[in-house]
Amino acid sequence: MESAIDVADLGVRFRRNRGGRRTVKDLFAGASRRSRPGEFWALRDVTFTVEPGESIGVVGRNGQGKSTLLRLVASVLLPDEGTVRVNGGVAPLIELTGGFVGDLTVRENVRLTAGLHGMSKAEVAARYDEMIAFAELEDFQDTPYKHLSNGMKVRLAFSVVSQLDEPILLVDEVLAVGDKAFRDKCYKRIDELLTEGRTLFFVSHSERDLRRFCRRGLYLDKGRLVMDGPIGEVLDRYNADHNAH
């Protein structure tokens, strides 16, 4: 069986300070192995394979490359070295509310976002009611998106993206928002998706969530993959490192 995600020798480099001088020569120098002054490797030499149906949690402190890795898998960022190969579509629960337009209504926004993620018009129409019901926004379908509360916005976004029929689900910290009742609903939805055999790639700081959803863990530190194993062992190692400092 073909693997779901194949990451090999992955590396990506960022500039240390936004104001740093950028010369025209820099831009066209291409992706060389050498790190230039004022740049650092956010990820380097990361290699792993994810089988279909696996649920993977990414562990690490802030700024160690977790979200960067997720963005590379979602291919909204391109690597400077190495490759990311993803088999099948991806439902990205990252920057959830990013695709929504304030001036358009909830209804129009659902059509737009679902469409951008590849849903056909008929499919959106068929699932529309379910999405609205999940987000509990039945009375706000013709309200401009900008007039929704922050909680409602996240609910809507989660409900649209989690309805996508993609085999791989990427989740980045989105469950931290929303009230408890909705969070429980989201958990249930993710459980459902996992039972259906989706592949989950999960970034979180919540040890409880990680243990709940994931079997396997990736531990990132200073942009390197320092451990790849069962989630319990990875978390124990992370806690040991973390408390030692």
């Binding site: 990506v12 960022f14 500039r15 950028r22 831009l27 066209f28 992706a31 963005r71 979602a74 291919s75 909204v76 960022l77 391109l78 400077d80 099948g88 579509g89 991806v90 990205p92 990252i94 920057e95 959830l96 509310t97 990013g98 695709g99 337009v101 001036d103 358009l104 129009e108 737009l112 469409g115 951008l116 993620h117 590849g118 849903m119 056909s120 499919e123 029929d165 993609e166 085999p167």
Partner: protein, 271 residues
């Protein structure tokens, strides 16, 4: 997968996303203001009125052709398409940075959707030209000042096609550069202003003296606008000019494609 519109990376999926985003732009444009449609035609109308007043009422006009107002509008409407698109290219990635950061669609869509939505607005504004032509034919009694629709109108689609290719090329060139170098936003605005006068809009290429005519031919808009004008002004026919413009357009598209490929990676990091 049965539920998605083509697999990611297929042309079908590309046009599906492109159309969704362009339709969104248009919907936002027309749903947020009461005057909606009027805004896309008001700009060229006011500009036409100003130049018509200045050049036919204040100065005695020595450039362009009769009827001058139609001569103006045939180039001003596509100019507004060009101007608005290039203006939006400078913010193509920043305006939707969050969407670019979270949705994996081919990045050239962020440029092409501007060309498409502004192009649709341009097509919507064409009835204005038709109204002026009909009014001119009905009202004007002097045959020398009456508009005549000729075979040149068949060149109109070619002009639209060339302008689309030119805009896509410029967009692929300008959008990533502006995302990386903020100064270029201002620079582009200045260049656009200069280009308005450097392009045969209020005059025609035939009016340029000596060496300027040769230089002016290098401007790809010169040939494109002469094609738009062919519908009413057969004297604008200038095959060499159209040939030069086509070559320039394709060259800009090639340069833009290369630039976009080179800069895509740093742009995504910058957002």
């Amino acid at each position: 997968m049965a539920t998605t519109v083509g697999a990611p990376g297929t042309p079908r999926r590309y046009f599906h996303s492109l159309w969704l985003l362009s339709a969104r732009d248009l919907k936002v444009r027309y749903s947020t203001s009461a005057l909606g449609y009027l805004w896309s035609v008001l700009d060229p109308l006011v500009m036409s009125a100003i130049y018509w007043f200045v050049f036919t009422q204040v100065f005695s006009r020595s450039v362009g052709e009769q009827p001058y107002i139609i001569f103006l509008i045939t180039a001003l409407l596509p100019w507004v398409w060009f101007n608005a698109s290039v203006g939006d290219f400078t913010r193509a990635f920043k305006k939707d940075a969050r969407l670019v950061r979270s949705t994996a669609i081919p990045r050239s869509i962020w440029v092409n959707r501007i060309v498409l939505s502004k192009g649709v607005e341009f097509l919507y504004s064409l009835p204005v030209l038709a109204i002026f032509v009909v009014a001119n034919i009905l009202i004007e009694s002097d045959p020398a000042k009456t508009a005549h629709v000729g075979w040149g109108i068949l060149l109109f689609p070619l002009a639209v096609l060339l302008q689309t290719v030119l805009l896509v090329g410029l967009g692929l060139l300008i959008a990533p550069l502006c995302a990386l170098y903020t100064d270029l936003e201002r620079t582009t605005a200045l260049i656009l202003r200069a280009l308005f006068y450097a392009t045969p809009i209020i005059y025609s290429v035939n009016d340029l003296p000596g060496v300027f005519q040769t230089l002016g031919m290098l401007n790809p808009l010169a040939g494109i606008f002469s094609l738009y004008r062919m519908a009413f002004f057969p004297d604008q026919w200038h095959p060499e000019l159209v040939a030069v413009s086509s070559v320039m357009t394709v060259a800009i598209l090639a340069l833009g494609t290369w630039m976009f490929r080179t800069l895509e990676r740093p742009v995504l990091k910058e957002l």
